[in-house]
């Protein structure tokens, strides 16, 4: 770190902290960056001020020269604050470009202060501006990265939730399970669904499983393969598999695709599937005559 390189900026940041902070906040509102609809002035000021303080720490201790590296140790505090602010704002619906503009809005007030101080030293002014720009740009890029990572995490989370939602294994009666399939089946999901089903068979000691296709829109060769593999695996575990909810369209498609279901029991509705399953485990549904 070269002392001369950072000392001017550092002293400006320290001595004129409030002026820069006010300038930053007003630039944000001038440019419509400050989302008052999403958070209050007070919160915005606190966040902005903690960012500025963390930035001073970074510049004072870190390498800001050619080896400037935002991921290095002295910038830990700033990164932490940036992550907090970004995550919090993204959760409130602030867009990545709003977030970048928010960070970049810091340039104005600092440039202004530098200009005042170094009015008659053009060479030095350019150098200082060049240096501080690089640091602030790095902040903005970092914010965007955090933003994207946060979005990815949310997408991943939602995907997991959806998968779990769409593959419940339900115990309908003693020894009878049902797996209502919904949506599309790719290989990864089929694998997961099968694992879940087989583990439940083991836990509940179920003897009959109804795999219901009522909620499945289309059956292509791949889906049919998964279905038949599932039936085979269920049989290997020692339980029986009934595939129900095969619509006329699905039946026709399967024949056209040349899918041979072999020994697997198929039923058009879950209703007949259930009656069949109960029958196999020794129960019968009877109509109770009114007294």
């Amino acid at each position: 770190m070269s002392e001369t390189e950072t000392s001017t900026v550092l002293s400006i940041l320290r001595e004129r902290f409030d002026a820069i902070l006010d300038g930053w906040i007003s630039t944000q509102s001038d440019e419509g960056v400050q989302r008052t609809d999403l958070f209050s002035h007070k919160e915005g000021r606190e966040q902005t001020s903690s960012l500025l303080r963390a930035m001073i720490t970074g510049i004072a201790e870190g390498d800001t020269g050619s080896r400037f590296d935002l991921s290095s140790e002295p910038w830990t505090e700033l990164r932490t604050v940036l992550v907090d602010v970004t995550q919090e704002r993204s959760a409130r619906g602030v867009s990545p470009s709003d977030m970048a503009s928010f960070v970049l809005a810091l340039k104005g007030p600092i440039f202004f202060q530098l200009q005042e101080l170094l009015a008659d030293q053009a060479g030095e002014l350019v150098e200082e501006i060049f240096f501080i720009s690089r640091v602030i740009d790095a902040f903005a890029v970092y914010c965007t990265e955090v933003f994207i990572a946060e979005r990815d995490r949310i997408i991943e989370q939602q995907r997991d939730q959806m998968q779990e939602l769409s593959t419940p294994v339900v115990e309908l009666w003693d020894k009878v399970l049902t797996l209502p399939l919904i949506g599309t089946m790719d290989s990864a999901r089929a694998q997961e669904v099968m694992e879940n089903l087989l583990e439940t068979i083991l836990q509940r000691q179920s003897e009959v499983v109804i795999v219901d296709l009522t909620g499945v829109q289309t059956v292509d060769t791949q889906v049919a393969q998964h279905m038949l593999r599932m039936a085979s695996a269920v049989r290997l575990m020692g339980a029986e598999c009934i595939i129900s909810g095969i619509s006329p369209t699905i039946a026709q498609t399967m024949v056209q695709l040349g899918v041979d279901v072999g020994e697997v029991t198929t039923r058009s509705t879950i209703r007949t599937g259930l009656a069949d399953a109960l029958n196999r485990v020794g129960y019968e549904i009877v109509h109770k005559a009114k007294q």
């Binding site: 583990e199 068979i201 083991l202 003897e207 085979s232 290997l236 575990m237 020692g238 020994e263």
Partner: protein
């Protein structure tokens, strides 16, 4: 008879619990021993408990399939019981469905099936 697996004869049924670390040689010996026992004991069925097996590869799968076919020729029904979920998924992936064997969740489920009534 193989050291890795003991064969028991109960209610006219040969029961075998295959041990976790059974080797290829052991399982070949077992196959031979079982064929002989089916005839000697006039067994009506063979129940193989494979719950201890963490994996069943194509070799072991083939022996199980052959055993079922041999038993069928000797008029005995084969049951494979206690297969683990992960093993079932892997075998299906390998294209081995053991079509000649009956399957059951456990030994008692198989015996119940042989007695001809559902497990209470």
């Amino acid at each position: 008879m193989s050291a890795a697996s003991a064969i028991y004869f109960v209610e006219g049924v040969l029961l075998v619990a295959i041990q976790e670390d059974i080797s290829d040689t052991d399982i070949l010996d077992l196959q031979e021993a079982l064929a002989e026992r089916i005839v000697r004991d006039s067994a009506r069925a063979v129940v193989m408990d494979i719950n201890a097996l963490e994996i069943v590869d194509t070799f072991v799968g083939r022996i199980l399939a052959q055993l079922a076919s041999v038993s069928k020729l000797l008029d005995a029904q084969t049951y494979v019981v206690g297969m683990r979920p992960a093993v079932a998924m892997t075998l299906v992936e390998l294209g081995m469905d053991l079509p000649e064997s009956k399957t059951a969740l456990s030994l008692s489920h198989a015996l119940q099936d042989l007695r001809g009534k559902p497990l209470a």
